[in-house]
Structures are given as C-alpha cells and as structure tokens.
C-alpha cells in the first residue's frame, strides 16, 4: 500500500492537538477539514484544563454552543466518562423546553448535572421589568454564577462563548483569568502563544476557559449537522404564540411581560439564540431543519445576539457584564 495514501502511524488521529499556521499542515495523504481542525483544537483545550486544574466544571447553558461543547467533551475523554460535572445557572426564566431538554441530555449521557439558582433573588421576585435588565442579569446570572463556582470551589469553568459573537468577546483569551472576586481585567491578559496555555493561578483566582473561541455560528451549525447533535426544539421554526411588537416577537412564557390588554398571536418563528424568556426575541422563520437553518444563516444580515435585550442596555454592555464576572 502506498504510504502516501494510507499510513496509520502518520494519520492525524483525533487525539493529536493540531495547531498550525497557514493551511492545515498534516502528514501526506491526510488533510483535516476546517471543522476537524477546530474540533482537534477544542479537544486539546478540554484535555489540558482537565489535567491541569483541581476542580474543573463545564457551564452548560443548554444552547447550541453548549451542545457542541458537551459533544467535544464526550469525544475528548471517550470511552471514559466526562471527568467533570456540568453546571447550569438557572435564572428561573429559562424556557420550559430548555429545562426538560437539559435533564434528558444529562441522563442520556450519564453526566453529573448541578443546578445553581440565586434563590434569595428569585424569591424576592427579581425580574427585568421590576429592576432593569442590567440589575436583573447581575443578580440572576452573574451573582448566581460566582456563588455557584465558589460554593463548589471550582477553579476552572468551561464556557461555550465564541469570539465571533460579540466584539468584547473577540478580545478574550482561551484561558481567561479572573481575580478572587471573579472579575475580568481585559487590559491585563496573558499572552497565549500557539497551543501553549499558562494555567498557573494564585489561591482564590479562577479561570474561565472557552474551547469554542475560534468557532463561528456557521461552524457550530455545520458541526451539529455533521455530528447529528440534538438541540432544543426552540431553534426550529414552528407556529408559536408570541406577543408581536413591530419587528420584535416576544415569547409568552412570562405573564408579566404582556402589555395591558395585549393578546398573543400565532407566528411561525424560531429562536436563533437562547437566553431568558423575557429578554430573548424570536425571529420569523421557516427553517424547520438544520439544513434550513444553515441556508437561512447565509442570508442573515443581523447578528445572532441582536435579539438579546441584555446586549443593548448600555454602550459596551457585554464588556461591563464580563468585567463583573458574567461569562
């Protein structure tokens, strides 16, 4: 057999971290596709962190990026189980379908699932109308996340954030260091050269790790398609009752979101990005399958987080939230 065509020892296996500059430089006869290259990098990061840190955890938000990250974690340690638990920060405003999906996924892959809620704030009736979105997010997401990480003494938390999502996320390192209060200092980040990651932290400090840093929204959907990864049904177009306000379609999950006398209408729509139901708008769409979504993505002219109210509550909104400890 011609070794240039098939040579088991030179074939880049999924376990080999590949970081190359320029076109994928791989042994003769083997060429990694763009997605395989991204996959290999992400798996390398997952393994690095799992071996370097005492108590890693994966932040599982139930969305498409989390679903991809979870599959990568399965692959990284297969046939062993995922060597860290999943942590979901539940604000109490997540879509019911998301919670059902979350429990099903955790059960089906045998992962340990932890859920953390800021109970005092939820009991006090915190919501984005009573407070503003900034303070609501601060209590139900950021504070809950920081408390949850501290409660379990996690020192490294994987998140599914991607650099192409938002311009302050484009400034993130893959290993993102947080001081003892969980805050991010974007002006004081460590250099990250090739595939070398410096995981040294002082007592009390933690890191957030973003294995999907280099993935784009298109890569995520292509991977979901090729790998057949289950995602929440809310991503697919269906007739759903919505409050229609001009271009904005607001899910009817929470009654306090209705204006006086406002009646929901049935609209064929889907969610492009999943967050808390009061702050996540749907888009009109006919995309019922993943190929439909990929086709729709090509035609999109607005960004995936355009429907997230919390990104637009002030100038530099995401950056401020991130500095405070949001992921």
């Amino acid at each position: 057999m011609n070794p240039a065509i098939y040579n088991p020892s030179s074939t880049v296996s999924r376990s080999t971290p590949t970081m190359t500059f320029g076109a994928a430089r791989t042994p003769a006869g083997c060429r990694l596709s763009h997605l395989q290259l991204l996959e290999a990098q992400s798996i390398h990061i997952l393994r690095e962190v799992a071996s370097e840190f005492e108590r890693p955890v994966m932040l599982y938000s139930i969305g498409k990026d989390s679903s991809v990250m979870l599959r990568l974690a399965q692959k990284a340690f297969y046939p062993g189980p995922i060597p860290f638990p999943l942590l979901h920060i539940d604000t109490g405003f997540k879509f019911r379908e998301m919670l059902t999906f979350r429990d099903e996924v955790a059960r089906s892959i045998g992962a340990e699932l932890l859920v953390w809620r800021n109970e005092p704030a939820i009991r006090a009736g915190t919501n984005p109308i009573k407070l503003d979105t900034k303070r609501c997010c601060g209590l139900l997401k950021t504070q809950a996340l920081l408390d949850g990480l501290r409660h379990y003494s996690f020192d490294a938390a994987f998140g599914g954030a991607r650099r192409d999502e938002e311009k302050s996320r484009a400034k993130e390192r893959i290993y993102s260091f947080r001081d003892s209060t969980g805050q991010w200092d974007p002006k004081n980040q460590r250099p990250e050269l090739w595939n070398l990651y410096n995981g040294r932290i002082h007592p009390g400090e933690t890191i957030r790790v973003f294995p999907l840093s280099n993935w784009t929204e298109m890569d995520v959907w292509q991977y979901i398609h090729e790998e057949n990864i289950p995602v929440v049904d809310l991503y697919f177009a269906k007739e759903r009752p919505m409050y229609v306000r001009g271009d904005v379609l607001l899910p009817i999950e929470q009654e306090f979101m209705a204006l006086p006398g406002e009646k929901p209408q049935m609209v064929k729509c889907r969610l492009r990005s999943l967050g808390c139901s009061p702050c996540t708008g749907a888009i009109r769409s006919n995309a019922e399958t993943i190929p439909d979504i990929i086709a729709e993505l090509i035609s999109f002219r607005s960004s995936e987080r355009a429907n997230r109210v919390i990104d637009h509550d002030q100038e530099g909104s995401m950056e401020i939230k991130k500095r405070e400890g949001y992921f």
Partner: protein, 110 residues
C-alpha cells in the same frame, strides 16, 4: 430573505464546498495609527462578515470624516479602545471567502 431557506437548498453541495476550504491564520504588524484595525474592519465589511446591526452601532462614531464609517470600531471591542481611538489588546476576528476561511489577529501598534 426566507426564499433561500427552502428544501431546494443544496446542503450537501454546500458542505462539500466548505470541507474543501483551507484555514489561514494571520496577524497584522505595524506602527501606531498605520491603519491595521481599519484595514481589518474593511476586510470584514467587504467580505460581508459583519452584520447590519453591528455596522449601525458604529455609524456616525469614531474619527473619520462625517458620513464615513470608522472601520476600526468594528475590531476595537473594548470601551477604552473606542474612547482613545487605539487598539490596546489583540482581537481575533473571523471571515471567509469562497476559497478560504481566515482567522485574523488584530494587534496593537508596535
């Protein structure tokens, strides 16, 4: 807009084409105010890798002539960078053309 999203979309053909694409990583190098971020912003804009809401956010801001888009604002993702009109830290941005996918590191002047 919804016209593309029909069952006639040749997904397999599209994916096959995507699989053929190379991934190129590159970085800018140059002095302060050479226009590194502006060039990258322009590349993102011309390859249609920025969305309308992102362009709307920066319209009428920045340091270029009135009515012109300051493309550097697309890559200067930190508030301090936009206020001072300089790039302080590296940003990674992504775009693709028909033949290739690109990861570009936008660096501060040096």
């Amino acid at each position: 807009m919804a016209t593309l999203a029909t069952e006639t979309f040749p997904i397999e053909q599209f994916l096959a084409q995507e699989r053929e694409k190379d991934l190129l990583r590159f970085s800018t190098a140059g002095s302060v105010d050479d226009g590194k971020s502006t060039l990258i912003g322009r590349l993102l804009y011309d390859t249609q890798s920025v969305y309308e809401d992102q362009v709307r956010c920066i319209r009428g801001k920045g340091s270029t002539a009135p009515g012109q888009i300051d493309f550097a604002l697309l890559t200067d993702g930190l508030r301090a960078e936009r206020e001072q009109g300089i790039t302080i830290d590296v940003a990674c941005r992504y775009f693709s053309t028909a033949r290739r996918k690109f990861i570009i590191a936008d660096t501060p002047g040096h």
